[in-house]
């Protein structure tokens, strides 16, 4: 615990808590709206942005956010214009962004996959700044306010998008908004969890919470708690074992998911009924 006497680790721990809360919260919508490819597409667009930032010698976090936000902004409308499933467009964006990332890396061969770019890929505890925390707190507040305001529309779309449309809800706007929000959260999570594992935070806590409860209002509270708990546990495991924090968070959240599936009261009841 002596680590926590240092501001650098205090910031990292706080960052973990906010990222866990945000990932768990937005993950419920990503999972229930079946936007499963959003997570990895966003993380790789952020990686491409970070690579460009390094090549241009500007803040990689800033370029990562710009890339993620731009990709998120175009995915929904592009899927609708092309009349293709969102998953198809996000998968194409994924390969495009990976290609761009490797091209940008060749612009700065002296750096390659070391230092800044590597920290974007794997995550780094020590790189969290006060500015990052301010961004995270601001995003957390905005996300909570928007979910509170539009809860009834989001709740209906999660139940069934077509039925929500039939009820007179403009589902497009809300789906685009969720993609955009997921893009921003991924970009801000890069420093701690890393681009390659950030989507574990979008899926694992939400999928775990869904194993326990029958009420979406309770799931929306439980999922961020699981997200934050995974991040805190991952943070300390990373410190004590001296292994990348992103990997620890992904492993712990996966473990929680596995335990949730095994001990899920919902599944037990279903199995009993089938017997």
């Amino acid at each position: 615990m002596m680590y926590l006497e240092y501001a650098i680790f205090q910031r990292a721990l706080l960052g973990c808590v906010f990222i866990g809360l945000l990932g768990g919260l937005i993950g419920v919508f990503v999972v229930k709206m079946r936007l499963s490819t959003i997570g990895y597409s966003m993380s790789h667009s952020a990686f491409a942005g970070a690579a460009l930032g390094v090549a241009l010698s500007v803040d990689p976090l800033l370029t990562a956010i710009i890339f993620s936000a731009t990709t998120a902004f175009f995915i929904g409308p592009a899927a609708d214009k092309a009349r293709l499933p969102i998953d198809t467009i996000t998968s194409i964006a994924f390969s495009l962004n990976m290609a761009l990332a490797f091209i940008f890396l060749t612009f700065s061969p002296q750096i390659g996959l070391s230092s800044e770019v590597a920290s974007v890929l794997w995550g780094s505890i020590v790189s969290v700044t006060n500015r990052d925390l301010v961004y995270l707190i601001a995003l957390c507040s905005i996300t909570l306010a928007l979910i509170y305001l539009f809860w009834k529309e989001l709740f209906t779309i999660m139940f069934d998008r077509k039925m929500a449309e039939a009820d007179g809800i403009n589902t497009k706007i809300f789906v685009y908004f969720m993609i955009f929000l997921a893009g921003l959260i991924v970009a801000l999570s890069l420093k701690i969890v890393g681009g390659l594992l950030v989507y574990a935070l979008l899926f694992n806590p939400a999928s775990s919470a869904l194993q326990y409860l029958h009420d979406m209002r309770k799931i929306i509270f439980l999922s961020p708690i699981i997200g934050a708990a995974s991040c805190i546990a991952g943070f300390f495991t990373s410190l004590f074992l001296d292994i990348p924090v992103g990997s620890c968070i992904a492993l712990i959240s996966t473990l929680i998911f596995a335990v949730s599936v095994i001990f899920s009261p919902k599944r037990k009841r279903r199995w009993r009924n089938e017997d």
Partner: protein
């Protein structure tokens, strides 16, 4: 008085398909009209309902519902339509109660940001009471039987207090006793509330006496639009011999 629903030369083509799912359809419905749409599989019955509802884009023609162009004002139009889709089933693990599912029917009407009021909840409960599923209100909707889920969806459409009801095979998962009861209930509710009601069905035995009109479809076209007995005789004689005996 202008018709409440008007389709003029409407054709709808599904993405990637060459043949229209419905073609050159001309139909009008007056306020309070109660009609059935029948026909074999792939006749275009579901497409017709989804086209009226504005859920499918049209390739040709013009549709107006409640004097509004559906392609331009789809959201406003859908706020006035109670819709029950075909074979809508909820996964057993879904975290929604039956009351949640019924109440959602009113959300489009409440408007963005607005919250459901006590009155909205009362309307939802009232619709559930009408369908005799009030006791299921707090049960997870995915855990209900197919028939119960179908009643939940009908309650959702009624709770919306729409001007138009579009029901796609609303009796398919119900037992024979419930089918009779629910089909009569829908006819009664439509009459009391002066709703324009269009029901797609395979089950000709459920067509109630109060049905003012039967529309027969085949291969995306309207092949008959007349009174029930006339329609059935026409089907039997010219189009699908044995259709009446095999249905339901």
């Amino acid at each position: 008085m202008a018709p409440i629903i008007e389709l003029r030369d409407v054709s709808t083509v599904y993405e990637g398909e060459k043949r229209p799912a419905i073609r050159d359809v001309n139909l009008t419905f007056e306020e309070g009209e109660f009609a059935y749409v029948i026909g074999p599989n792939a006749a275009g019955k579901t497409t017709l309902l989804e086209t009226i509802n504005g859920l499918l884009p049209i390739f040709k023609g013009r549709i107006s519902v409640l004097n509004l162009d559906v392609q331009k004002y789809g959201k406003q139009v859908r706020c006035q339509i109670g819709y029950v889709p075909q074979d809508f089933m909820v996964d057993p693990g879904e975290p929604y109660t039956a009351l949640d599912a019924v109440l959602m029917g009113r959300y489009g009407k409440i408007g963005v940001i607005g919250r459901p009021s006590r009155e909205d909840k009362e309307k939802a409960i009232e619709a559930m009471r009408l369908l005799e599923i009030e006791d299921l209100a707090n049960k997870p909707v995915g855990k209900l039987s197919g028939g119960q889920q179908q009643k939940v969806m009908i309650a959702r459409a009624i709770a919306k207090e729409p001007k138009i009801l579009l029901l796609d095979e609303p009796f398919s998962n119900l037992d024979p006793e419930s089918r009779d009861k629910i089909s009569k209930l829908i006819a009664q509710t439509s009459s009391e509330r002066n709703l324009t009601t269009i029901i797609v069905t395979h089950d000709l035995h459920q067509i109630v006496d109060s049905c003012s009109r039967t529309i027969v479809m085949n291969s995306g076209r309207i092949i008959a639009d007349c009174e029930l007995r006339k329609a059935l005789a026409l089907i039997e004689k010219w189009y699908f011999p044995g259709f009446w005996r095999h249905s339901g």
